[in-house]
């Protein structure tokens, strides 16, 4: 282990013991995104119109609400991992990087929670008109 270059400083230390998990979860959520987003695209395209009453009726069905919630979990998990790599690649400053990771976690968990709660509200309260 040397002390000069970046590669010299880490050579011989072995792996970071993390990263494989990130890599695998990125791919597992990619497969679930593939299935669930294709389901959303085909479902939306086949709807006759997009007025509020029909949207509520459509989202009230368990066979729509459940895949929609699963899709939100899958999408936000996948984008949380993807944007992490974007930050790691382009933000060299450790402090800024740490702050962006915190913000990214808030964005991913908060966004998923808002989306899932909205679907749950529609599914449980149904047509309110």
């Amino acid at each position: 282990m040397g002390s000069g270059t970046n590669i010299g400083r880490v050579r011989g230390l072995g792996s970071a013991q993390e990263g494989a998990h990130h890599w695998i979860v990125q791919r597992v959520t990619a497969v679930s995104n593939l299935l669930l987003v294709l389901w959303l695209v085909f479902s939306l395209v086949r709807l006759p119109q997009y007025e509020h009453g029909l949207m509520v009726e459509w989202l009230s069905s368990p066979l729509v609400a459940v895949p929609m919630m699963l899709m939100l979990v899958s999408i936000f998990w996948h984008l949380r991992l993807g944007l992490q790599v974007l930050i790691e690649d382009y933000v060299p400053d450790h402090g800024v990087k740490f702050g962006l990771f915190v913000f990214l976690n808030f964005f991913a968990i908060g966004g998923a929670a808002l989306g899932i709660f909205s679907v749950a509200k529609i599914a449980f309260t149904g047509v309110v008109e």
Partner: protein
């Protein structure tokens, strides 16, 4: 510990985009990141706004639609996001093949790198043609 944070180091940097000759492999790699980030930062927040607006009631949904129909901005974004999705999807499928260790032969790799954006454009076009035909018929 001098030079531990990358920005303080005087070591030479690795070459970046400007020194490489453009090819389809480079384009499809850049598009994978760009479309993924565009969906994460624009498409998904809009999806959540759409679901929230439906849950909050007809007035809230009308407000969402008023922005959607503002100079066709919603259609422009949706066309962009649908292309981003299909591009990222086909590119992701290409990555699964590469992950398995296949498709690295020069001609094969180039062929699929050209095929991915073409397939994305064709799929996006077909989807919007279907939507347009549904509204007309």
């Amino acid at each position: 510990m001098s030079g531990v944070s990358g920005s303080a180091s005087n070591r030479p940097l690795s070459p970046h985009l400007q020194v490489y000759k453009w090819g389809p492999h480079m384009l499809v790699s850049i598009l994978h990141r760009a479309t993924g980030d565009a969906m994460a930062l624009v498409g998904v927040p809009l999806l959540v706004w759409w679901l929230y607006a439906i849950s909050a009631g007809p007035e809230s949904y009308d407000y969402f639609l008023s922005w959607f129909n503002f100079y066709y901005i919603g259609y422009i974004i949706l066309v962009g996001m649908s292309f981003a999705f299909f591009e990222h999807m086909y590119s992701g499928l290409r990555h699964f093949v590469l992950d398995a260790g296949a498709g690295y032969e020069l001609q094969t790799n180039k062929m699929w790198s050209v095929a991915v954006p073409l397939a994305a454009i064709i799929t996006t076009g077909a989807m919007w043609l279907y939507i347009a035909s549904k509204n007309i018929l």
